[in-house]
């Protein structure tokens, strides 16, 4: 469980406050205006930016008291876009997700290789393992990022607008796949997203950045009008 205990996030002045918990087995969507602090909140949860106030607890331990390595074994982070890197294959890319577990020289053990294969299989992209990341489509690379996060074998995965550069059908596929993974693999996945319709279609529990109060409101099964009023008016 991730508990955000009366936190205020921001760089110098508080941008956003939140007080809620996220459970394993669910896919949560974080929605709100551009510049409302979604990315800042995600980066605070992974410990990249210190919180101004309050505490973030991962399984009964404050993230600020964890080492980089401990945190990396608990929480995986996926950035908005992966552009692909020359000569880097899908397998090599997903293998980087094993970094928190390999020895000082980064040698892959049998268990590491098994986990990489399993992650590729769960996402359904085993056929991409030999393909160069620069020759993949945006949709393929986005799925590859998910596989990398799974290879990191963490209970929690945070994704910053993973659907931003995808076409409509890829957006739907990705969200549906993530929901299934969260449920079947018992992971807690939190993603920021601007595709409200797709989130509602999948009945995702929503974290809404309230425009007037600069605060995260939690809604399960909310009507679209209410969300629009809360976040965008």
């Amino acid at each position: 469980m991730i508990s955000l205990k009366f936190i205020e996030v921001g760089y110098n002045t508080p941008l956003l406050s939140a007080n809620l918990s996220l459970e394993l087995g669910n896919l949560y969507a974080l929605v709100g205006k551009n510049g409302s602090g979604k990315t800042t909140l995600l980066q605070s949860i992974i410990g990249m930016i210190p919180t101004i106030h309050g505490e973030i607890i991962l399984d009964e331990k404050s993230i600020h008291s964890m080492s980089n390595l401990e945190r990396a074994q608990k929480i995986a982070f996926v950035e908005t876009k992966f552009m692909g890197i020359n000569f880097l294959t899908g397998f090599e890319y997903v293998a980087i997700g094993r970094t928190p577990y390999t020895n000082a020289l980064g040698r892959l053990s049998d268990r590491d290789k098994m986990q990489i294969a399993k992650s590729l299989e769960i996402v359904g992209i085993t056929h991409l393992s030999g393909k160069h990341t620069t020759r993949m489509s945006d949709g393929e690379r986005q799925l590859l990022q998910v596989a990398r996060a799974l290879a990191q074998e963490t209970p929690y995965i945070l994704m910053d607008e993973p659907t931003a550069f995808l076409d409509y059908s890829n957006k739907r596929n990705l969200i549906e796949k993530l929901k299934k993974i969260a449920h079947e693999e018992q992971k807690c996945i939190l993603l920021s997203c601007h595709d409200l319709e797709i989130c509602l279609e999948n009945n995702l529990p929503l974290l809404i950045v309230s425009e007037s109060e600069k605060k995260i409101e939690f809604r399960n099964n909310a009507a679209k009008e209410e969300i629009l009023k809360l976040a965008f008016s």
Binding site: Q43, F87, T99
Partner: protein, 312 residues
């Protein structure tokens, strides 16, 4: 390649000279002396300089996430050059010793490595960082030109020769120090291959994978400074090897795994400089080709090729 290199040169040696030099060394035999005192150091320096600069280039390119980075372009060579210029042109006695020269060049490389690292915190754009590197180089160039205009003819000559780049100024007794510096640098790089791989995904991702970014950066700069500083102190500023070879290695090995890339850079860097120097030795009877000019003759068109092929 090593044997071809050793056998080429103004005074011709043949294979039996080498064999006999190893078996029964004769201190009065000129060929034996040439072999041990000149050819061996020159061959070793060719390999080491190529490997060290290629590895430095690889480290810089991954650290800054920029395939056009390299110790020369980012002005790390300039740091070493500045100290050497101060040494040769002003004649401070401490720097005149081998150890003084190496440590001077090292401090210079480290200082300028830190400067470019400092700028990289504030500048996200690849092109801007390269521009800053170029500005640092020309700034240092201006200081050196000023020093040159004030110094005596004899000192000016020795500095100018140094700046041409040369693999033959090293003597047999300086070799152990250089080999030691390079080996420490290579082993250090080998220990960094894991964070280097993670760094491919950018800083935020690398950090979320548990990499301690700050100490990683410091180590990269320290190792680059050690390798570049040592080579620059003895061979002069050698351009383009650090930029071109890592790209060539990636193309040949078709991988981004730094364990392979490191070995590839050691190998291809060494072979490249050995080939360059063999050609220089072969044309030596007709005209003198400075190594710095020669690597640029190869390197500059190669960089244009990389840009045209859109490999960056």
């Amino acid at each position: 390649m090593m044997i071809v290199h050793v056998l080429s040169g103004q005074i011709s040696l043949n294979f039996s000279d080498i064999v006999s030099a190893f078996n029964t060394y004769d201190a009065t035999n000129t060929n034996h002396i040439i072999f041990f005192e000149f050819r061996i150091p020159r061959m070793t320096m060719s390999i080491l300089s190529g490997s060290a600069l290629a590895v430095s280039g690889m480290l810089m390119q991954t650290l800054f996430n920029n395939p056009l980075a390299g110790p020369y372009v980012l002005g790390i060579n300039s740091g070493a050059s500045l100290i050497v210029a101060l040494t040769l042109l002003t004649g401070i006695p401490f720097f005149a010793t081998d150890f003084g020269l190496i440590s001077g060049a090292l401090v210079g490389a480290l200082l300028f490595g830190s400067i470019i690292l400092f700028f990289s915190f504030y500048i996200r754009s690849h092109i801007s960082l390269l521009l800053i590197g170029l500005m640092i180089s020309s700034f240092v160039g201006a200081i050196i030109t000023t020093l040159e205009s004030m110094s005596a003819a004899e000192q000016l000559k020795s500095y100018t020769f140094w700046s041409f780049g040369s693999l033959q100024q090293t003597s047999l007794n300086q070799l152990p120090l250089i080999i030691f510096g390079c080996i420490v640098g290579f082993l250090g790089s080998f220990l960094l291959t894991k964070p280097l791989n993670a760094m491919l995904l950018g800083e935020t991702s690398a950090k979320s994978l548990g990499i301690h970014i700050r100490s990683f950066r410091i180590w990269i700069i320290a190792i680059t400074a050690l390798l570049t500083g040592t080579i620059t102190a003895f061979c002069g500023p050698i351009a383009f090897v650090g930029l071109a070879i890592p790209n060539l290695t990636r193309m040949i090995f078709q991988t981004q795994n730094h364990q392979y890339l490191l070995l590839g850079n050691l190998l291809i860097g060494g072979i490249f400089m050995l080939t360059c120097d063999t050609i220089i030795q072969l044309v030596e009877p007709y005209f003198v080709l400075p190594i710095n000019a020669f690597t640029s003759l190869f390197g500059a068109p190669f960089v244009v090729y990389i840009v045209l092929k859109k490999l960056i």
